[in-house]
């Protein structure tokens, strides 16, 4: 979808020419988010701006959908690519609607079609069209402004989006929210996105691919999990942080680590019956299930019991459950919070699906380290 082929940019300075981008090769498939990541001055923004030719490459080619972008008129090219910048850049003299409709109007859409599109996009970024269409940018909060910025970039439904640290100036709480919203939106729209960031967590959260730059060179280009599990060199290992394995936790869903070894017993069972089941399974605990299949409590193995005691009398409350779609970071955090080494997992309907254990998670994360070719 987007292919950078030996893309190079040399800037002439007083002390000679500097390579801001040095033979960059990246291929991003349709519908993927590629994060360009690196410290400031590493060439990530230069690379991004060469794609819509705000910066003219010194050499190398850019292909979008297989077509060489040099074949386009730069103005036409830019109208077919969505562009979001950190400073948002909403035009203060225009209403929200006029801002969103800039590209559609440049492309010659008629007013009613553009108006409908603006309302549709506002709803898409979770702003009420009736309330916001006629407002001016200065009447909006920073988060609202960047939502409009994203809507404006999507206005003419371009297949490609370029985003230059779009959420960098938003406060951390709103940034999380807007990142999640954008992820949801992206799952529906399947744009091909080039996204500049210097925030490793943001990259791990959003990216399908990550390209890490240093001093104009592309150091590593891979999936987030591979970059975190197998950083290509010390610079990258350093850049993604010593806690990179912890960062991988948010890439893995609970469902991947679920074990179904724990025995299930009913709340109405007698303790003898429950003990028999547990002995048969050989686990250290059993999960007590209610009639609807929801995990209700847990029962420790061993321990003395008198005849006639029910499971209900001896079982303990579960410290908490996680759903199959949660990421492992949420699960581990919950484990640490309650000082437990396992958690019950439920599906969306709340039915018991199995357990995750700290050992299981450790094993799972270890697997890719032992993958072929790993150091």
């Amino acid at each position: 979808m987007i292919k950078l082929d030996n893309l190079t940019k040399a800037f002439a300075t007083a002390s000679g020419s500097i390579l801001a981008a040095d033979h960059i090769n990246i291929a991003v498939d349709e519908g993927e988010i590629c994060m360009l990541l690196g410290p400031s001055g590493c060439g990530k923004t230069t690379t991004l701006k060469m794609i819509n030719r705000l910066i003219q490459p010194s050499s190398g080619k850019i292909y979008i959908n297989g077509k060489d972008t040099d074949a386009y008129d730069p103005v036409e090219l830019r109208r077919s690519i969505g562009y979001v910048i950190q400073q948002v850049g909403l035009f203060p003299n225009m209403t929200v609607e006029e801002n969103i409709c800039v590209v559609p109007r440049l492309l010659g859409w008629d007013k009613s079609k553009a108006h409908k599109r603006a309302a549709e996009l506002l709803a898409m970024v979770n702003l009420d069209p009736a309330l916001f269409l006629s407002r001016y940018p200065k009447e909006l909060s920073g988060g609202q402004q960047q939502r409009i910025g994203v809507a404006r970039a999507l206005a003419a439904d371009p297949p490609v989006l370029l985003m230059d640290e779009p959420f960098g100036a938003i406060d951390p709480i709103n940034r999380e929210v807007i990142q999640d919203e954008f992820r949801k939106l992206q799952r529906r729209l399947r744009k091909t996105v080039m996204f500049v960031s210097h925030d490793v967590d943001e990259a791990v959260k959003m990216a399908d691919k990550i390209a890490i730059f240093r001093a104009g060179k592309l150091e590593q280009f891979d999936t987030p999990d591979n970059i975190l599990a197998h950083p290509a060199n010390d610079f990258i290992a350093d850049f993604v942080g010593t806690d990179r394995t912890l960062k991988r936790l948010q890439l893995v869903k609970v469902v991947a680590a679920v074990e179904v070894t724990a025995p299930q017993i009913s709340i109405d069972h007698s303790l003898e019956h429950a003990t028999a089941i547990m002995n048969e399974h050989g686990g250290e605990f059993a999960i007590v299930i209610d009639d609807a299949g929801r995990p209700h409590a847990w029962l420790a193995a061993g321990g003395s019991h008198r005849d006639g005691t029910t499971v209900a009398a001896r079982s303990a409350d579960l410290p908490g459950t996680v759903t199959v779609d949660d990421d492992l970071r949420t699960a581990v955090s919950l484990m640490f919070r309650h000082a437990v080494s396992w958690l019950a997992v439920v599906d969306e309907a709340g039915r018991f699906r199995g357990c995750i254990t700290q050992n299981g998670i450790t094993r799972l994360l270890g697997e890719t380290y032992r993958a072929p070719g790993a150091p």
Binding site: L54, Y83, I85, V103, L106, L162
Partner: protein
């Protein structure tokens, strides 16, 4: 009392002189807008050109008006207009350049670079960027320059009465030569009032032209 009697006795003359005055300032500043705004925009493209143009415009401002009128007499005599309306208009046109060019230049260069980048990245041509973003945002400051030019030149035009351009300055020059304080005071008050009224009118125009989203 004498002054009031004079004013009410010469209302129609006063009105004629006011119109003459306005015609000189209006035509000259109008032409100055047509030249100064494009020049102000053009020099945003080149720093050295901007410095040179603003330097020349500032130099013109330092020439005393009475000297400028004097210099123009022999030059414009060649085309038969050494005195009167034409030199007055040319002088006002020249004096208006600095505030208009400088404010246009400053306003356009002060447009937030992020807006320029967004406009460029979205596929606006240079002309579209100027027409849809830069000029609308710069308009209040450009208008402020025009206001300065108008108010300042209402004063300068009063002096143009000495080269026979007419206008409210006629009352002042006659008042001096005839030691007639009634005419002198009438002229002075009329020129001041005209300047104040013009200033407020243009302030209102400036407000109307300011895009709603950028109003304070």
């Amino acid at each position: 009392m004498e002054v009031l009697d004079f004013i009410f006795g010469n209302l129609s003359v006063l009105a004629d002189r006011t119109l003459e005055h306005l015609s000189i300032v209006g035509v000259a500043v109008g032409l100055a807008i047509l030249t100064g705004v494009p020049i102000g925009i053009a020099i945003t493209q080149n720093r050295r050109a901007a410095d040179a143009v603003l330097y020349v415009a500032s130099m013109i401002m330092t020439i005393p008006s009475i000297a400028l009128f004097g210099v123009m007499i022999p030059v414009l005599s060649l085309v038969g207009h050494g005195i009167g309306y034409l030199p007055a208009v040319i002088a006002v046109l020249l004096y208006s350049q600095l505030p208009i060019i400088r404010n246009t230049y400053t306003a356009i260069t002060n447009v937030d670079p992020a807006l320029r980048e967004a406009a460029r990245g979205m596929g606006m041509t240079a002309i579209q960027r100027l027409a849809r973003v830069e000029i609308p945002i710069a308009l209040p400051v450009i208008m402020a320059g025009i206001r300065v030019a108008v108010v300042m030149n209402i004063g300068i035009t009063a002096i143009a009465a000495y080269i026979g351009a007419g206008g409210l300055g006629t009352f002042i020059s006659r008042g001096i030569s005839q030691t007639d304080s009634r005419q002198l005071i009438t002229g002075a008050i009329a020129v001041s009032l005209l300047a104040i009224v013009a200033d407020y009118t243009l302030l209102w125009v400036q407000h109307v032209l300011t895009p709603r989203g950028t109003r304070g």
